[in-house]
Amino acid sequence: MFLRALTFMLGLWVSALPLAAQSFDDLLTRLPQGSFSDRATVVSALAATGDLRAAAVLDALGAGELHVRPSDGALLRVTGRGTNLRGTDVLTGDAVEVAPRSTEAVRVNNSLRRTVRAAMGVLTLRDPDPMRRLNAAEAAFRAPDPEQLEAIDLALDAEDDARVRAALIQARATTILRGDAPVAERVEAVETIRERSPRVVIAALAPYRADTQPEVAEAAADAVATAERTLQLWSQAQNVWFGLSLGSVLLLAAVGLAITFGVMGVINMAHGELVMLGAYTTFVVQNAIRVHAPHLFDWSLLIAAPLAFGFAGLVGVAIERGIVRHLYGRPLETLLATWGVSLILQQAVRSAFGPNNREVGNPSWMSGAFEIGQLTITWNRLWIVVFALVVFAVLMFVMRRTPIGLQMRAVTQNRAMAGNMGIRTSWVDAMTFGLGAGIAGLAGVALSQIDNVSPNLGQNYIVDSFMVVVFGGAGNIWGTLAAAFSLGIVNKFLEPYAGAVLAKIVILVAIILFIQKRPRGLFAVKGRAVEA
């Protein structure tokens, strides 16, 4: 406060004009006298002088610390009480000795305080610091005071910073609108204001929809309606973004399942637990990095991803070799056995790491957010969308363009013939299952950034990811992509109306009904393979 006052003092020597100073002093002596409303008039007049010394006076007044010394009429800023009483001369900023009860406070009430704040805003319009001028212009925009129109005009004439000028023009518009200017001028002011961002337009113009001048009321109503439409559009865009974000999470959780369940026809109820193992791998990697090489922390996720893929993939291969292999052709038994695996994995992680959530940090490039228009996008969500799409693209490439992908498709389409062609079918089975499991591990790396890393992590996704695969049509990886994103977006569009839980229930019921209609999913595989 004091420093700020001092800055104004410095400005004072440069800019004060003798005439203004004259009336300024008169005004100062009148300040402590009269009623609150008299004082308000004086405050506005002080601000209108444009004298920077007024800032210190008004600042003290607004804080309720302005005192007058009856003996010589000097204005002092008095802080503290009892023996800690400290005084400063408001005009010079010098410390002054103050004896208790030797001064009288200049009293303020709430309406006076408002006047003071507005007046301060006008005064700061003359500040040498452009940032501060900008803030002052914004303040004048938000709390316009018709009496300060002149001050704003003066400031506008003197202003040469483009941004501050723009802000001042806006402030001038609200001030004109608030006052009793001719209709044409006020309508023009409305037009000026509507260039601002929609939220600001609504806040500034909503009260004028009921203005006494019909032209103004109409213009304001139109501007507010336009702004509301724009906001509505942005909020739809925000919903789409949230939906894409949720969809990418679903895609990550489900795409591994699309391989094991969709392509191989094996129900892997331990899929969620493989996701959890990926998340815990991330946790372990981050811990190791924190201890041994803190400078690598930003790289932790990139280091964790291949490890999680490998670890979850190995566990997957072990599950396939140890259990699933014995149960081919008995899908319901596979379901039960892999459920057993999921219980064991859950409990193993719980025993090893404890039942509580584990802290997994965001690397710097994944924290924070940026804005596009009215849209706030957090970096971690954006990277997860990108990551999900990359994983999906790589998976498609592997399935379509590599020898192992070719073998996988051959084995799932016709095992016996693939075997006759010299493909080691049991090896391909293990690799396919391992691939699905490894992708689950990758999903775990991504989910560790947005969800709690706990032994129950996988349980939360298992029903959802099965829904996605079934909805998209088993055996169709593109269907999984479409299903994940459409379910995500529909979910987020339902949420504002129904709430998060109800939206989820509605989606589940809708999928249950949908499966009745199209038992083989959205994009069903056609032909003989269906009955196999």
């Binding site: 129900i267 109820m269 259990i323 014995h326 149960l327 899908p331 319901l332 038994e333 596979t334 379901l335 039960l336 056995a337 459920w339 057993g340 695996v341 999921s342 219980l343 064991i344 859950q346 409990q347 193993a348 719980r350 025993s351 349980q459 298992i462 029903v463 099965f466 829904m467 079934v470 839980v501 109800l502 989820k504 229930i505 589940l508 019921v509 999928i511 249950i512 009904l513 499966i515 009745q516 209609k517 038992p519």
Partner: protein, 368 residues
């Protein structure tokens, strides 16, 4: 046609009868109370599980429908009885409100929601404990079977069904006590729930329900209809081509099974003293499947035994080594599916059959 009570059923019912007589005597009339009260309630709980397992065996073992949502029917039955018990509390609740249960007063509700009306009468609650699960199963099954959703797909959507119900019942707005469920019951039909006599009474009721359920299931499965069910299980398309309306048979058995599960739930609630949305969790429903798989699917008696065994092991293990329970349960799932495809009963009887070449009708049936 085989006899209604074959050897297997006879042995089990005799055992059940002895238990039902011995436990109450030991608890109520013998010097020094050799059977503690909690054991009676525990046994009652196991018997409810056994009835639930029989219900699942009816659809899975005989009709090949693996429902991963049978816990939902059980919980719905439990909620129906829980609602009656809540109304019975009356002015004895913390808020002493004669009509509104405590949680509704707490949430600031002014009047009883429409679906709570009638539950002050026991007969209505008992009826609803069967009708509501039955109706849900009927509607769900009508859609599912008509559009020929089978196998794994059906399992997954039944799981989604119970998951959706769990989420729904967790909501306070549903009017079923939200997270906490229904609890703090005082008495049933005027008998205080805490007294030993009531506990014994409930246990005996559970035993009777189990025996009744077993006999009913047995009667259904040995009838002509039961034969068709087995055909559906083993060759659905062929059965359809022979002219049977497969979906009608499935719908019938699914609904009947859901109603049995509802009865089990209704008997379960007063004995454990609480019913909450956790009962709907998909994990619970899958656990029922392992009871049946362990006992032997398509054996009815085996399912009941499996339920009692697993539940008993759970009580023991969670008491001694809580960490170990999930390992044991997980291993059980894997072992049973890989090593005991016919369940323990099937394996034992198969072993006996090999010792004695002249096989009994029971083993023939188990192999069928």
């Amino acid at each position: 046609m085989t006899r209604l009570i074959d050897r297997r059923m006879g042995i089990f019912l005799t055992g059940l009868f002895i238990l039902t007589v011995a436990l109450p005597i030991g608890n109520l009339w013998m010097e020094g109370k050799p059977v503690p009260s909690y054991a009676v309630s525990l046994m009652g709980k196991y018997l409810c599980y056994a009835l639930l397992a029989v219900a699942l065996d009816l659809v899975w073992g005989y009709c090949g429908i693996l429902s991963l949502g049978h816990g939902a029917f059980f919980a719905l039955g439990g909620y129906a009885m829980g609602m009656h018990l809540m109304r019975e509390i009356g002015t004895r609740g913390s808020y002493a409100n004669a009509t509104l249960p405590d949680f509704m007063v707490f949430l600031g509700w002014q009047e009883l929601p429409w679906f709570w009306h009638g539950f002050d009468m026991f007969w209505f609650a008992a009826l609803m404990a069967m009708v509501v699960p039955g109706l849900l199963a009927f509607v769900f099954g009508w859609f599912a079977f008509r559009s020929r959703v089978t196998g794994v797909y059906l399992s997954i959507i039944t799981q989604a069904l119970t998951y959706a119900l769990m989420l729904a019942f967790f909501r306070n707005e549903m009017g079923f006590g939200g997270n906490n469920g229904l609890t703090d019951f005082k008495d049933i039909l005027g008998f205080p729930l805490q007294s030993d006599r009531t506990r014994v009474g409930l246990m005996v009721a559970s035993a009777l329900a189990l025996a009744g359920g077993l006999l009913l299931a047995r009667w259904v499965t040995r009838s002509r209809l039961g034969q068709v069910l087995v055909c559906v299980r083993d060759a659905e398309s062929r059965t359809r081509f022979l002219g049977y309306r497969v979906e009608h048979y499935k719908l019938f058995i699914f609904t009947l099974s859901a109603m049995m599960a509802g009865v089990a739930g209704a008997l379960y609630t007063p004995q454990v003293g609480i019913i909450n949305p956790g009962e709907f969790s998909p994990a619970n429903s899958i656990e029922i499947v392992i009871w049946v798989a362990l006992g032997g699917r398509g054996t009815l008696v085996g399912a009941a035994l499996g339920a009692i065994l697993v539940a008993f092991a759970k009580t023991l293990l969670t008491g001694w080594m809580p960490e170990f329970w999930l390992f044991a349960l997980g291993a059980l799932f894997i072992l049973v599916t890989i090593a005991l495809p016919k369940g323990a009963l099937g394996a034992i009887e198969g072993g006996l059959g090999r010792l004695r070449p002249r096989s009994t009708t029971a083993t023939k049936e188990a192999r069928a």
